[in-house]
Symmetry: C2
């Protein structure tokens, strides 16, 4: 792949910063012009070599850019599209990193009339509990999966180029509809976050919370890691994908009720069967296993 | 500390096997005689150097033993006490590794009349999702915490010696009542397991489970790690500590309902406040932080 001349980076946090570092390491871009709403973040990004120049506004990231990455909380996407709509080069490939996709596409359609043909909605399933440019790292995306959710208006050439970009920084690429994406992610990511937040909240509310936290062990550590995630990011995601998340919560509560019924009735066999089914599925699961179906 | 002459090891699985390996590495024991209900496991334990000799029965582990470790699923503890009650040397220190403590003490009291003065009920908060002697490792306990729950009949000298043993293999020792222990563990370990099992079950029940599992990422990986835990172990724990676990589940569901109410009413501020409180608590938590109170 020929390197891009200029990446317009909108949002210089963990996701955007890591993307720029990864592209630079892979020699896939010549120059990065980045914007952050915090001038302190932009300065830090420049010091770290994440960006070469800081843009004075969102709009100022797009002149000369043949690749644009929107890496802001999903609720801020509309403002970004509005800001760049008359400055964007028609041939520039536009990607985002939003954890929900239907709402991003809805917003693009509303602002542009139809989703732009060179916009390839993307969700790289990578991250960590620490946010901010300080946490950015060139290998954040390597070995992880990205889901592309093109619309009927997306050009095939844009999908192909987006695939090259994500593969170029080490990602496995899957493609599905935005609707499927939002349902799948509600199940495997958004509900676990909601549950981990709720569980941590219930511990913190108890009068002996300090004692509880002092006694917590390695199981607690892993189970609650995602509860430390960024509030700004997760308020947006849980609201943007509310109906799917609430649906998945109902599924989980139905399962929990079956476990608790078996406990209350002291039904050892039923409880063993339930735990065994869960344990077997998790025991045979591995990260990035071969995808079994191309769509849901 | 003078090394023990002989460890009588009842149960040669992950917990028992790792204990024997740790004692041997620290040169705290001269000989280990172990029993497993599976002769294949006993042979494997001998091959691995976990035990020096296999005992033909539970009772045969105790003659000559100045240290006895009961490392069986908690529901099997009563049978172990019955088997050893007339063979146990009066001066032998007896420890267990049960994840629930009040039921273990109740069983001891029933069988021995009163809890034996040299029995120090212990719960080392260590483990991993793989079970069996093959998974045993000398450093499983190092750097982790153990909770001792002595009764009013436990000798101070036995508590002191038990403390030396656990510290000798690298553990931090805490002491509290069995009742407190069971409440604390329900909150920080048993409910997370029940929740992780229920969540995995709800995923496995969905018609597109294979697709969901293929798309799951690093957050899912950590959140569900404990769902792969041993069904035999966890049936026992969830039933033995049922009331406390159900109580903790009610706490969590109350918190979850608050999150979902904020989502349904699209109350951004309330949702951000809830997530922030959870995120802050988890963000400042570390494993084995200084214990803030000696009891709950």
């Amino acid at each position: 792949m020929k390197p891009f001349k200029q990446l317009g980076l909108i949002g210089c946090g963990l996701m955007g910063g890591s993307f720029a570092l990864a592209l630079k390491r892979a020699k896939m871009v010549e120059r990065v012009v980045g914007y952050s709403k915090s001038s302190r973040t932009a300065e830090q990004a420049k010091r770290m070599g994440v960006i070469d120049d800081a843009a004075a506004s969102v709009l100022q990231t797009v002149p000369g850019a043949d690749l644009v990455l929107i890496a802001v909380p999903v609720a801020a996407t509309a403002d970004v599209f509005k800001a760049i709509q008359f400055g964007l080069h028609a041939d520039a490939l536009v990607l985002d990193v939003g954890s929900t996709k239907q709402n991003v596409i809805d917003v693009a359609q509303k602002i542009f009339g139809a989703a732009p043909p060179n916009f390839v909605p993307s969700h790289p399933i990578a991250g960590k509990e620490r946010a901010g440019v300080e946490a950015a790292q060139a290998d954040l995306y390597a070995g992880k999966r990205v889901i592309l959710t093109p619309t009927e208006h997306t050009h095939a050439s844009a999908i192909a180029l987006a695939t090259e970009v994500w593969q170029g920084i080490g990602m496995q690429v899957s493609t599905m509809s935005a609707e499927c994406h939002d349902q799948v992610l509600a199940a495997v990511s958004h509900l676990p976050h909601l549950t981990a937040f709720s569980y941590m909240h219930s511990i913190a509310e108890q009068s002996n919370a300090a004692q509880l936290l002092a006694m917590a062990g390695p199981g607690f550590k892993d189970f609650t890691r995602i509860a430390a995630s960024s509030p700004d990011v997760w308020v947006d995601i849980l609201l943007a994908n509310r109906e799917e998340v609430l649906q998945q919560s109902r599924h989980m509560l139905t399962s929990l009720a079956r476990f608790e019924d078996a406990m209350r009735s002291n039904n050892t066999d039923a409880l063993r069967q339930l735990i065994t089914s869960a344990s077997k599925v998790r025991g045979s699961w591995t990260l990035n296993q071969t995808e079994l179906a191309s769509d849901v």
